[in-house]
Amino acid sequence: MDRPLRLISPDPLDRLARTLEALLVVASAPLSVEELAAAADDDAQRVEEALRLVGERFAEERSGIVLEHVAGGWAFRAGREEAAACARLFERPAQRNLSQAALETLAIVAYLGPCSRPDIARIRGVAADSAVANLLERGLIAEAGRDTAAGGAVRYRTTPLFERVFGLENLSELPRLDDVGAGEAEIRDRLHAVAERRSA
């Protein structure tokens, strides 16, 4: 079947930008370029160009609505200057009162995930059940299959909501933690010193 002829408007990219704005405003989760292209019935490259236009229009300090690239997609959010008003309007249950235990568990899942409760407990030295349940309830982590080993404990990974709450484009934005500094070497030396005394 022949493709119907596209009418050439004065600025077709501007027209596409308006379509993208509409799609982003009705969505409640970030949309990938592919999803936007499919919904706008246009190609991905043009969508990316049009997104730049939308980004210029909806930028911090220029608009109360801001376009951001987050959790692997594009989404509108409130401008930072409007945070106080937004906070008066509604709470954010996902990130309210995250305990230290929950944050440590979340960090382990984010860096080492998918991982199981026993994995988390081994690293933290205490049972992780309540912290995991807490994070599940908040929607920051989700189940991601089971361990292949016998017994097959449920494994967990972080959710797109986690990336959104923490403003991450994706998990690779997490800082590298290979070098935790001189502290590690010091601890190691002290432990070795104890070991020498014991074996002596």
């Binding site: 969505a27 409640s28 930072r80 923490f166 403003g167």
Partner: protein, 269 residues
């Protein structure tokens, strides 16, 4: 550690090693308990470590000053006992660590500590990030994307839909109102007819007489029959519901029993 001069709150400090214990599994000085445990002559699983802590705290409370040196020593010893006991309670972990040389155990411990330290560092980073991103508000809601619409139906012929609609769009059949014009046949006509009939015969069968008539005429005839019965000109009998209705000329010969039955039958009909 000090030379352990005092005993039982007597001298300058508490001697942890000479702390007298009175537990279910063991009675004697702390020092002896340690020795027995290390020689594996006493199973730590049977020892109530909380009891030792309590005994030490009681000894500590007897003194006016806090003996930091004794506290330090006690902490080290009780921590070691706790570790040993914990390993004993979890055999797998014990095997894993017990097989290691002290250097290897230290390395393993350092590795675990480093891992935990990384987790803690990451948690700190997340906490800071959360604070920094706290002014980002965004919409949260159910999954926004509609599932792709499946079309489970086989391809359909639009003409079939049109045909179906055509049937629905037709005018309903015209309702006949012809019966509205029907005149009810006069009851009087049947009054005359039944009187004449009973003049000729003493009894007749109602159904036989009206068989040829229309339903409306039959109804009219029945009304006439009831009218005549009321006037006492005839009697009506019916053996059972829907049985033939027998009509008889009223006469003095009819016995009272028969009369009562007829009345009863008609009323109940």
């Amino acid at each position: 550690m000090s030379g352990g001069a005092g005993f039982a709150g007597g001298g300058a400090g508490i001697s942890v090693r000479e702390l007298e214990l009175d537990l279910d599994a063991f009675e004697g000085p702390f020092d002896l308990l340690l020795a027995l445990v290390l020689k594996e002559e006493l199973d730590l699983r049977d020892v109530d470590l909380a009891g030792i802590v309590t005994a030490f705290l009681e000894r500590l409370a007897e003194r006016e000053e806090l003996d930091l040196e004794a506290c330090g020593e006690f902490l080290v010893l009780i921590a070691a006992l706790l570790e040993l006991k914990a390993r004993g309670l979890f055999p797998d972990e014990a095997a894993e660590l017990a097989e290691l040389e002290p250097e290897e155990a230290a390395e393993e411990l350092a590795r675990r500590l480093a891992e935990y330290r990384r987790a803690k560092e990451a948690a700190i980073w997340l906490r800071e990030r959360l604070t920094g991103e706290g002014d980002r508000f965004f919409r949260l809601g159910p999954a926004p994307l509609a599932p792709k619409v499946e079309t489970p139906l086989a391809p359909q012929d639009p003409d079939a839909l049109a045909a179906a609609l055509r049937v629905l769009a037709q005018d309903p059949p015209h309702v006949s109102l012809s019966h509205m014009a029907l005149r009810f046949p006069p009851v009087s006509q049947f009054l005359e007819r039944f009187r004449a009939l009973l003049g000729r015969r003493s009894r007749f069968d109602f159904e036989t007489e009206v068989r040829e008539l229309t339903r409306l005429e039959q109804a009219s005839a029945f009304l006439a029959l009831l009218e005549l019965r009321r006037a006492g000109e005839l009697t009506i009998e019916q053996a059972s519901p829907f049985a033939p209705i027998r009509v008889s000329r009223r006469s003095k010969e009819n016995d009272p029993q028969q009369e009562r039955t007829a009345v009863w039958t008609v009323r109940s009909a």
